[in-house]
Amino acid sequence: MGKSNKPIVWGPFAGGGTLTAFLTPVLILLTLLAALGHPPELLAYERLRAFAGYGIVKVLVVGVVFLSLWSAAHRLRITCYDLGIRADTLVAGVLYVAALMGTLASALFLMRL
C-alpha cells in the first residue's frame, strides 16, 4: 500500500489545533471587549500600529494566521466528508488554497505597516 503523504497536511493541522486551543479564546475575548465598548489598550490605533511594526511580531502573527486557518480548513474538509460530500479532492483544494490566501493576505497587510 505505501505510506501516505498525509502528514504534510496533518502536521500543521495538529500544530494549529494546539495553538488555537491555547490562544484563540483569549484573542476572541479581546475583540469581544472592543465590540462591547471596552477595547483593550493594545487595540488603540497608535499602540497596535507600533506593536505590529516589529518584525518578530509580523512573523508571529503570520504564523498564527497560517496555523489557525490551516487547522480550520482541514477540519472543515473532514466535516464536509462526514456530512456526505464526496468530492474530497475539490473540497480540500478550495479550503487549503483559501487558508494559504488568507495567510498571504495577512503577510501583505503587515508588510505595509
Binding site: 488555537t20 484563540t24 476572541i28 472592543a34 483593550p40 505590529a52 488568507g102 493576505a105
Partner: protein, 133 residues
C-alpha cells in the same frame, strides 16, 4: 449431505444521518463545527490587519463595525465554540501523548489539568499585556 446455501449479503448504506445516532456523534459534530467559528474569527483578524494597514480612519471604522449586534452575537458564539475546541483538545491530549514515568503512566487528568492551567495562565497574561483591565 448439506444443501448449498446461496449467499447474498445485504449491504446497509451509511447516510449523513449517522450524526443523530447517539449524543456522542452530535458532540463530535459540535467540536468539528468549532472550526467554522475559529476560521471566521481568524478571517476577521486578517480583515482587521487590512484596516490597520490603511490608516487611523479605516481602523476606527473597523472598531466601530465590531460594535454591531451581529458582531457581538458572532463573538459570543465564536467564543463558546473556541472554548469548546480548547476543552476537547486538552481532554484528548493525554491520549495522543501518554507519558510513562517508570512503570506507571501519568494520569490523564494530570496532563489535561496542566494544559488547562497553562491555558488559563496564558489567557490571563494576554489580557493583562493587552491592557484589557
Amino acid at each position: 449431505m448439506a444443501e448449498e446455501v446461496r449467499r447474498r449479503p445485504y449491504v446497509r448504506e451509511e447516510t449523513w444521518r449517522w450524526i443523530f445516532r447517539h449524543p456522542r456523534y452530535l458532540r463530535y459534530m459540535a467540536r468539528e463545527f468549532s472550526c467554522l467559528f475559529i476560521g471566521a474569527w481568524t478571517l476577521l483578524l486578517v480583515w482587521g490587519l487590512k484596516q490597520l494597514s490603511e490608516g487611523p480612519a479605516a481602523w476606527s471604522a473597523f472598531l466601530a463595525s465590531l460594535k454591531s449586534p451581529a458582531s457581538i452575537a458572532f463573538h459570543l458564539v465564536a467564543l463558546g465554540f473556541a472554548a469548546y475546541h480548547s476543552i476537547t483538545w486538552f481532554r484528548l491530549t493525554p491520549k495522543a501523548l501518554p507519558l510513562q514515568l517508570g512503570e506507571a503512566f501519568v494520569p490523564d487528568g494530570v496532563i489535561s489539568g496542566a494544559h488547562y492551567a497553562a491555558w488559563a495562565a496564558l489567557s490571563f497574561a494576554v489580557l493583562y499585556l493587552a491592557g484589557a483591565f
